[in-house]
């Protein structure tokens, strides 16, 4: 039976406390009074911002590196990435195995129905108050068959990584994949 392994966690601190921070707001330049009025109609996130854009991308690059190191045969990786991005994405995100989406769920549903193996990294880590998000991460690993030792080693590797970079409440659940 094919399974879906889900790792969930909450970021509770900055992942790279010893890394010097570049101060950069990276928001659109607002010139006119009307620009400020337009922005003011948007919801503002009151959750704590635990990381900046560069740290967010570094975190995802490290997770992708962790996944790659276990050599799991997964040809598709979906990433939830919000815009504006604050600059050029790391080359790892531009790999042909990776697709970055505003919301991974709909694309994931297709892969589920087709029974394809994939990894989805769906985080809601806000980097700016104009981003929704509650500092959670969900990593789903969809296997074609029963998870192998390789998959469990991968889960262990990802969970260890998440704890090392400031995530708490790291939990794993396994479900049957629904057609």
């Amino acid at each position: 039976m094919s399974k879906l392994i889900e790792i969930t966690a909450t970021l509770v601190r900055n992942p790279y406390p010893d890394l010097p921070k570049l101060c950069a707001a990276r928001t659109l330049p607002l010139h006119r009074e009307e620009d400020f009025e337009a922005i003011s109609i948007l919801p503002v996130n009151s959750n704590p911002m635990m990381l900046n854009f560069a740290e967010h991308y570094l975190l995802i690059v490290e997770l992708l590196g962790c996944i790659k190191s276990f050599e799991a045969r997964i040809d598709t990786c979906l990433l939830r990435i919000q815009m504006p991005a604050g600059g050029r994405m790391p080359k790892e995100f531009l790999d042909e195995k990776v697709l970055m989406l505003q919301d991974v769920r709909a694309e994931e549903a297709f892969l589920q129905r087709e029974g394809k193996p994939y990894i989805a990294i769906e985080d809601t880590l806000p980097r700016h108050p104009l981003e929704a998000g509650n500092n959670k991460i969900q990593i789903r690993i969809a296997c074609e068959q029963d998870p192998s030792d390789l998959h469990w080693n991968l889960v262990e590797g990802i969970s260890t990584k998440l704890k090392a970079v400031g995530f708490d409440a790291v939990e794993t659940t396994v479900k049957d994949r629904t057609a």
Binding site: H31, D35, A38, I39
Partner: protein
């Protein structure tokens, strides 16, 4: 040649904003109606039975992100409620900016090399009416609108779609050089490039001199982000300019260096729609 442009449409969106519509949600309701109507029209090129085969409808954008990022609008708001859509929007891709359409096609056709049709819409509308997006030193005046493409996949070859990123930050000349290499020795190929004002366009003029290309339409439309190469094809198509089958290399470059190309065939059977501005 393996990708055939079966049908394509463009609707300029010039006056739909949160203030003109009364709210951001109302503005998106209006945009989703246009998306519904345009998709329906483009799909008329194929039979209802074949429409059922279409597995994805990617919606791509460069600049409409803030309402989604802030959570004011959800991806599901892009599909009209209460109307049956033949192929509703399934996947919203915007991180690759103007090259999002190419990355979406690369992903989908790698996953589904046997697919017969794929549908992509490119939406850039200044619903927040921000001056940054109205004009910019990087691309001159902007043009806003919705473009929808229905591509027939005859036999997909990996090189029909290119989706990659410049190595340097001198992106436009690097992009032009890449296009030059792709088009070298291809007398059968016509380039459809992004629209830029004269000061940027001269990079293409110098580096792509001698290659067949559709004229730059920046003076008419402004820079319409990822829609540019397709809008150019549509403009020629509605004028009936494709008397003979033509191979076109549609090319887009993004501010952060992402770029994409698609080699498509168009002919007199391709259908094109260019609507009045809304």
């Amino acid at each position: 040649m393996s990708l055939y442009l079966k049908s394509a449409a463009f609707t300029p969106i010039e006056s739909i904003t949160f203030s003109s519509s009364g709210s951001l949600r109302s503005a998106f309701a209006h945009v989703s109606e246009i998306l519904f109507e345009q998709s329906t029209r483009v799909l008329e090129a194929i039979s209802p039975d074949i429409r059922k085969e279409i597995g994805r409808h990617f919606l791509c954008s460069t600049m409409i992100e803030l309402p989604f990022t802030t959570g004011a609008i959800a991806e599901s708001d892009l599909n009209v409620v209460g109307k049956e859509q033949h192929v509703p929007v399934t996947s919203f891709v915007n991180t690759y900016e103007c090259a999002s359409w190419g990355y979406s096609l690369r992903y989908y056709l790698k996953q589904n090399p046997d697919a017969r049709y794929v549908m992509v819409s490119i939406l850039d509308a200044n619903v927040l009416d921000l001056s940054f997006w109205q004009s910019n030193e990087n691309w001159g005046n902007s043009g806003f609108g919705l473009c929808t493409l229905l591509l027939e996949v005859e036999s997909f070859e990996k090189h029909d779609i290119t989706a990659s990123c410049a190595v340097t930050y001198n992106t436009t000349p690097e992009f032009a050089t890449i296009i030059r290499k792709m088009a070298a020795g291809r007398d059968d190929l016509t380039l459809s490039l992004p629209f830029f004002p004269e000061n940027i366009r001269q990079i293409f003029t110098k580096l792509l001199n001698g290659f067949k290309q559709l004229p730059d339409l920046h003076d008419r439309w402004g820079h319409c982000f990822g829609s540019d190469p397709w809008l150019n094809i549509i403009c020629h198509g509605v004028n009936g300019d494709f008397h003979q089958p033509k191979k076109i290399l549609a090319c887009s470059i993004a501010l952060n260096g992402y770029y994409c190309t698609a080699e498509v065939c168009v002919d007199q059977q391709s259908t094109f729609y260019l609507s009045e501005a809304v």
